[in-house]
């Protein structure tokens, strides 16, 4: 390849990447841009990214005061952390049994896990709602957490990772005196750190942004997670006042973005460390 075609192909590559990247980012940037503008400018015909009159302080103050946004965020943190923790506590031993312990019916049980993976959450909403009603946990944190504790995706992901860990490691651990559960916590999970991180990201992002299930089971502000909070905020407080609404949305998304940037290097390191033995 001559240097010129090399530059050309690099150029084409970057143009394509930049276009798709900006397509993904435009709504997000638009949201941030709107959150900085006064109401008058929101629908103005001339397109600007930055406002003529900065209105950020007003919008963000309103977002934080008109609705209990901090409360929603705290709820989100509590719910997501509890879900993630319980998911790992349940999924890791299950995945270990499916990957490393020989017992009759193992393949059939794994088949059930795969079926669970295929069923969309919405299909189960009604039975789960009724179950929550019977358990008397509607409109509590428990209702937000309990349906997600068993994650077929988590079991599947961990099982695949545990399968790639040599049997000899498990044997060595048994000889060293570790019980089966301590093998899971002390050996398998630490060795599967990339899987744990990947699963955590998927789980936290999914449940932080989930609107469907909270909408069904929670109606008091006290327990509302951020996404649901924004919706009620939009309905009740703002009407046409999109500035504060966008400010609220920006605040809700911000923790995820910040967390991802903070963890990014570590995340990628974890992934490559796992692949190079």
């Amino acid at each position: 390849m001559t240097p010129r075609t090399k530059i050309l192909s690099g150029l084409v590559r970057h143009v394509i990447l930049l276009t798709t990247g900006s397509l993904v980012l435009v709504p997000f940037i638009w949201m941030v841009s709107l959150s900085l503008k006064p109401p008058a400018e929101l629908f103005s015909s001339n397109f600007t990214l930055l406002p003529e009159h900065w209105f950020a302080v007003e919008n963000y103050t309103k977002a934080l005061t008109a609705a209990p946004l901090p409360r929603y965020m705290l709820n989100g943190v509590i719910v997501c952390a509890a879900i993630l923790l319980l998911q790992i506590i349940v999924c890791a031993p299950a995945a270990y049994a499916l990957a490393k312990i020989r017992f009759a019916g193992r393949e059939i049980i794994f088949g059930f896990v795969l079926i669970g993976l295929l069923i969309p959450h919405q299909v189960l909403a009604l039975p789960l709602f009724i179950l929550c009603y019977w358990l008397g946990i509607l409109n509590t944190y428990a209702a937000l957490i309990f349906p997600f504790v068993v994650s077929p995706f988590g079991i599947f992901l961990f099982r695949q990772f545990f399968m790639s860990i040599p049997d000899d490691i498990v044997h060595a651990a048994r000889l060293d005196g570790l019980s089966e559960l301590s093998i899971v916590w002390r050996i398998m999970l630490p060795m599967s750190l990339p899987a744990v991180i990947a699963f955590s990201i998927v789980s936290v992002v999914g449940h932080w942004n989930d609107l469907f299930w909270p909408l069904l089971v929670v109606h008091s502000q006290e327990f509302m997670p951020p996404s649901l909070g924004i919706v009620t905020f939009a309905n009740a407080e703002t009407g046409n006042d999109y500035g504060p609404l966008m400010a609220g949305a920006t605040l809700v998304v911000a923790p995820l973005v910040i967390a991802f940037f903070a963890a990014q290097r570590w995340f990628i390191e974890g992934l490559t460390a796992g692949s190079v033995k």
Binding site: H171, A172, R174, L175, D176
Partner: protein, 388 residues
């Protein structure tokens, strides 16, 4: 006293039967090697002894106590794996300390933060630390204690694996081809070190290998495993000189033993590869017999005669002090291998005719079913020396 006793162990995976009634008594403090071709079930037997795999039938005793229903942890055996099986996320010292921590600390005491606050924990931890340090020093890895396994060379990993087995002073060491991932030079060095370790610790070693040099140089006794059974258990010298059957003779020795079909001619004579061997006629050979001749049991001879094989020299291989001559003889597809002194090199040319005299006292006879034919005490070979 018996260190480990294996009684009638059988094991099959699905329809494949891997072990068929293995019985073996391993003395206390003995270095016993399990030698066998790849896939014959050596690792499986080792895992059964360790309790990592459940046998279909048979029992295992360690120091006279049945351990069949004991978990691996309680059997007082330690194992060094072929892949070393070090925990990649722990440092060398944590790897080595783990078996001690699991035994000396309770579940509560092992908890990360709370554990350290409980009484006694600190003193036990320092005790473990000094023991790990002492073991590491004995193995020459004390400068590596804070490294992760991925930062070690193959030989260093191997030592850490041995160290992790050593710290808890087990009654029996099980080693599954611990040297097979090392380069040739390091393998020779580690061979000596493991042997030295055995001498120093004086406990039972069961060592698995498919490398016959390792088996011959290190062991007190060698157990040859073939087709899921123990074909022979004997000292390395005996295994080589008096193999119990043809397969053992073929497995041990490099280059391989020469095997020639022979037909009895009556009157104590065997027709073999176009010439004649004189044998004792007390033995009943049946119709056919196989003669096994090790390369070093063939001598250069000037002319044909009784007990002398004649053939065409195919090529010569030099191995330092000696040379191996590959000779085509009538009636055998594979060439005969003879180990000859290197001084003969100048007199050997490809395609020349070569006479090789069989040193009768070292030749072996095998019956049609593969057993070695021997007189009485099993030590004497039945070939008669031929006085010129």
């Amino acid at each position: 006293m018996v260190g480990v006793s294996v009684r009638g162990i059988s094991k099959s995976f699905g329809s494949a039967s891997i072990l068929n009634g293995i019985s073996l008594d391993i003395c206390d403090g003995e270095f016993l090697t399990l030698l066998g071709p790849s896939g014959c079930g050596k690792s499986t037997l080792l895992r059964i002894i360790a309790g990592l795999e459940q046998q279909d039938c048979g029992t295992i005793e360690v120091a006279g106590i049945k351990v069949d229903h004991l978990r691996p942890k309680l059997r007082d055996v330690a194992m060094v794996f072929q892949s070393y099986a070090l925990y990649p996320h722990l440092t060398v010292s944590e790897n080595m300390a783990l078996p001690l921590r699991m035994r000396r600390l309770s579940a509560w005491q092992r908890l990360p933060v709370i554990g350290a606050l409980l009484p006694n924990v600190r003193s036990v931890c320092t005790e473990i630390k000094t023991e790990v340090a002492r073991t590491a020093k004995a193995l020459g890895i004390d400068h590596l204690l804070s490294r992760k396994p991925s930062q070690l060379s193959g030989g260093q990993r191997q030592r850490v694996a041995v160290g992790r087995a050593m710290v808890r002073h087990p009654a029996v060491f099980l080693m599954d081809e611990p040297l097979s991932n090392l380069d040739a030079k390091l393998r020779v060095q580690m061979r000596g070190e493991i042997k030295e370790l055995h001498r120093r610790l004086g406990v039972t070693f069961v060592y698995v290998t498919h490398d016959q040099t390792e088996a011959m140089t290190m062991s007190d006794r060698v157990a040859v495993m073939l087709d899921g059974q123990v074909a022979q258990v004997a000292s390395p010298r005996q295994i080589y000189a008096c193999p119990a059957d043809r397969r053992v003779a073929e497995l041990i020795g490099a280059p391989k033993i020469n095997l020639l079909e022979a037909a009895p001619r009556g009157e104590g004579l065997l027709a073999i590869a176009g010439s004649t061997l004189a044998v004792d006629n007390v033995l009943d050979f049946g119709d056919s017999v196989t003669v096994g001749i090790r390369p070093e049991s063939l001598q250069f001879a000037d002319r044909a005669g009784l007990n002398t094989l004649t053939g065409r020299l195919r090529y010569v291989e030099h191995v330092g002090a000696d040379l191996f001559a590959y000779v085509d003889v009538p009636g055998s597809r594979e060439p005969l291998v003879a180990r000859l002194p290197v001084e003969l090199a100048s007199r050997l040319q490809s395609d020349q005719t070569l006479h090789l005299r069989v040193r009768c006292e070292q030749a072996l006879l095998f019956s049609a079913d593969g057993r070695r034919l021997s007189e009485g005490d099993g030590q004497v070979t039945p070939l008669r020396s031929y006085a010129e």
